[in-house]
Amino acid sequence: MRVAILEGETDFDGWRKAARAFRQAGIRPEEATFRVGEGEGGLFDQSLPDGAAGTAPFSVCRTFVELAQEVILHRSGDRFDLMYRLLWRLGEEADLMRIVSDRDVADAMERAKNVSRASHKMKAFVRFRQVHDDRGEAWVAWFEPSHRVLEKTAPFFQRRFTNMRWSILTPDGSAFWDGEALQFGAPATRDMAPAEDEIEEFWKTYYASTFNPARLKTKTMQGEMPKRYWKNLPEAALIPELVAQSAVRTETMVAAPAPEPNARLAKTLSRINRDAAFDEGFVPSNLEELGQAVQACRRCPLWRDATQGVCGAGPKKARLMIVGEQPGDQEDLAGRPFVGPAGKVLDAALEEARIDRDDVFVTNAVKHFKHEPRGKRRLHRTPATSEVRACRWWLDAERRLVKPKVIVTLGGTAALAVLGRPVAVTKERGEPIGLADGARALLTVHPSYLLRIPEEAAKAAERERFVADLKRVRTLL
């Protein structure tokens, strides 16, 4: 058996040097072991030949080195041997580190996970207490990490509390930060840290108050905050009493008679409710009223998943009204029609047709955004005929108020809403159609259709037809 003596429990460099020498000398894992001890570092019970005498120098992947650095912080006694066994096997099995289902790899990864968890818990459970010395205030914590993670974790506290002077004392060693340099020192004992801090009473008050006695789940708590940490957590002293009282506190809440409702408050509230409701008999007398009233519309279910009803925008009286299908994702958020991608296409086309958008009343056939959630996005869905019919109430109100001479409908839904019958836009496109109120409708495609044409040449041609339709409008105004 070959034995390598390491300088300390976390002596990674020593282990690395020894393991390298072992492997180069061809010493099998069963014949090698590592011990932390006094004596001189790097001393072997049998002298090792230099690397030159063994096999050629070798390299290992970074994954292995990083894993080894973590595993060595684990408190288990055989961690050095495990990592040497892996190092040895890497010679034959180059892909070994990727086979995380391998017994040794899985074992090492599990230990690395425990170390990482111990480090995370140290970030969480260190509790500083304030002290004063000749340089002013400073902060001291006593902590017992479950693995040897002090040096690994101290830089976290340096980054977080850069402008505080602090020490963390543990049975493995100590860390000190004076505002300039991070230093490590000898193991410490609990009595070297302050015994109290006046703010702790506030912290305990908070801890007790934020606990909800009606949902006791002590197992979950213990899983995340294992008992071994409790003795250094000031708040943990409260746990037994909080648990013991929880049942009584919950029963008291459940059994207590409900207070009489405040009559005056109830009256005020019922008035608020009544004011907000939508009334079928209501006739909006201006666009502002209409914009507010549509928010209470329940004529179809589309309001439920939409943010808001989006009414038309433009001058109070306009010679030209453009009707689209429905608000899209962006319009739904902004509360204004045609502000998304299709709106940009429309704006550019209007400009090319030399129509000022400020002179146009732009609106939609359906006022709420019909869609289907897909992860973090919302996919457009075409409104059903019943929804278009239900929403015509609002479009008609807009037409009554704005009194346009010409109405351009974009796409089939808009044509259906304006003409009141199903329409094949491609067949009836471009020819003015007389409407009952004396206005004339001109049918064309929806700009989002232009966005969906994949082929560039076809897209350009369709766009030209769209602009031509808009130019035609000018002759009708």
Binding site: S209, T210, V243, M253, N262
Partner: protein, 413 residues
């Protein structure tokens, strides 16, 4: 009114804030206090500094600025008609308390909310004032979560986004009709509009490829909301649909589900009983299935009874038992999407299997090492050395996998 001492105030205002489930401190921009004059850091992963016996994590100092409130939301402990003791912090008191707690490493930061006093604008102004003081006067670089007062002026929301990591407005009741009935002064439409503004703000703050100057930060940890479970009669499917709609519409990072819990001095309009904790747990699982496992709300709904998820088994297992024709799947050839649908396999396990199988054909023991428990997985998979045979279609498969009825939890002490 008599001056009550700070500890009493803390007790009242923490108690008043605890029914908001959110306590996350993760997912914000990375920063530390190097080169600054204050304290604080955020490094991506959230940290839970303590756990209370209700199993909830304590990551932030979660308090209300005041629990005085002009609203009368029936489900809320702070509603105007409740007789709970009232208190109000000054802005400086909250700032001091936050810093004092932070320096002792008790917390990751502050989660500040408030009852509505005077007006939405005034209340929001006070919340923003606390955040501004922490950030600008004390150079505090820890985490700040501010509650949005939806009725407040959009300019205040904009300013809140400059200082806060996360903003949230709670929908609270899954059914809009219930909100109108139980919280008459609140409006879903107003809450959704506030959420829209946050989504647009977050999107505007993402630097474009061509931007030379980065746009100012806006709530880098995004927004979240909360739904109360069991107060308004909405079945699980309705809640899941509502969540999907909120995730899709407003880019929410999280929807929190909070089992309706008895509160002191509760209203007679609501059920007073033990909070439906298992139901809450199943909803979280369903939420995860939607966000990380590629399940559509409809698919989760397939395995419900009267719109309710099975309380005895998790929703993925329930789905799989219903869709046995899809199983068993061969772990050595199946797509990642299909592996994610195997009961008992998590995202991490699946990713590991997909990576390992490039080098080695998986055996049952390999799969066992890569997942948490093989018993639940076994009937649904094929490996090099295992095939479930008739087990997949066994009539009593559900009973075989589902654990015995939960043992009555023993008291800790």
């Amino acid at each position: 009114m008599a001056q009550i001492d700070l500890r009493k105030k803390l007790s009242i205002l923490a108690d008043a804030a605890k029914y908001d489930a959110s306590c996350a401190s993760s997912g914000t921009s990375k920063r530390d206090s190097v080169g600054g004059k204050g304290v604080g850091s955020t490094e991506g992963m959230g940290i839970c500094h303590a756990y209370t016996p209700d199993g909830r994590c304590v990551s932030l100092l979660k308090i209300l600025l005041t629990n005085f409130c002009i609203y009368d939301c029936v489900y809320c402990i702070n509603r105007a008609s409740s007789n709970v003791p009232r208190a109000r912090f000054s802005v400086d008191e909250v700032v001091e308390l936050t810093l004092n707690f932070y320096k002792r490493n008790y917390i990751e930061g502050l989660f500040l909310s408030s009852g509505i006093i005077r007006s939405g604008d005034y209340t929001m102004e006070q919340l923003v004032l606390v955040a501004r003081k922490l950030r600008t006067e004390h150079d505090f670089r820890g985490y700040i979560h501010l509650k949005l007062i939806p009725e407040a002026d959009p300019r205040l929301v904009e300013e809140a986004g400059l200082y806060a990591d996360r903003l949230s407005a709670n929908i609270e009741l899954p059914r809009d009709e219930a909100l109108a009935r139980l919280a008459p002064q609140k409006s879903v439409a107003v809450i959704k509009k506030a959420m829209s503004q946050v989504r647009l703000g977050v999107e505007a703050a993402k630097p474009g490829k061509r931007d030379r100057v980065k746009p100012p930060k806006f709530a880098p940890a995004g927004q979240s909301t909360q739904l109360i479970i069991g107060a308004d009669g909405a079945p699980d499917t309705e809640i899941i649909d509502r969540s999907a709609s909120l995730y899709g519409g407003y880019g929410l990072r999280r929807v929190y589900y909070s089992a309706f819990s008895p509160i002191p001095d509760s209203s007679s309009a609501l059920p007073v009983s033990k909070p439906p904790l298992m139901r809450e747990h199943r909803l979280y699982q369903a939420d995860w299935l939607m966000r990380f496992y590629g399940f559509a709300p409809k698919e989760i709904g397939e395995a419900t009874t009267d719109g309710m998820l099975d309380l005895a088994i998790d929703p993925k297992l329930a789905w799989a038992l219903n869709r046995r024709e899809q199983f068993p799947v061969d772990v050595n050839t199946a797509s990642r999407e299909m592996l994610l649908r195997v009961p008992g396999l998590g995202v991490k396990s699946v990713d590991r299997m997909v990576s390992v199988r490039r080098y080695r054909t998986l055996r049952l023991e390999d799969v066992a090492r890569l997942c948490r428990g093989i018993d639940k997985v076994r009937p649904f998979i094929v490996t090099l050395d295992w095939t479930p045979g008739g087990l997949t279609d066994a009539v009593d498969l559900g009973a075989r996998i589902a654990p015995d009825p939960a043992p009555v939890q023993l008291s800790l002490f």
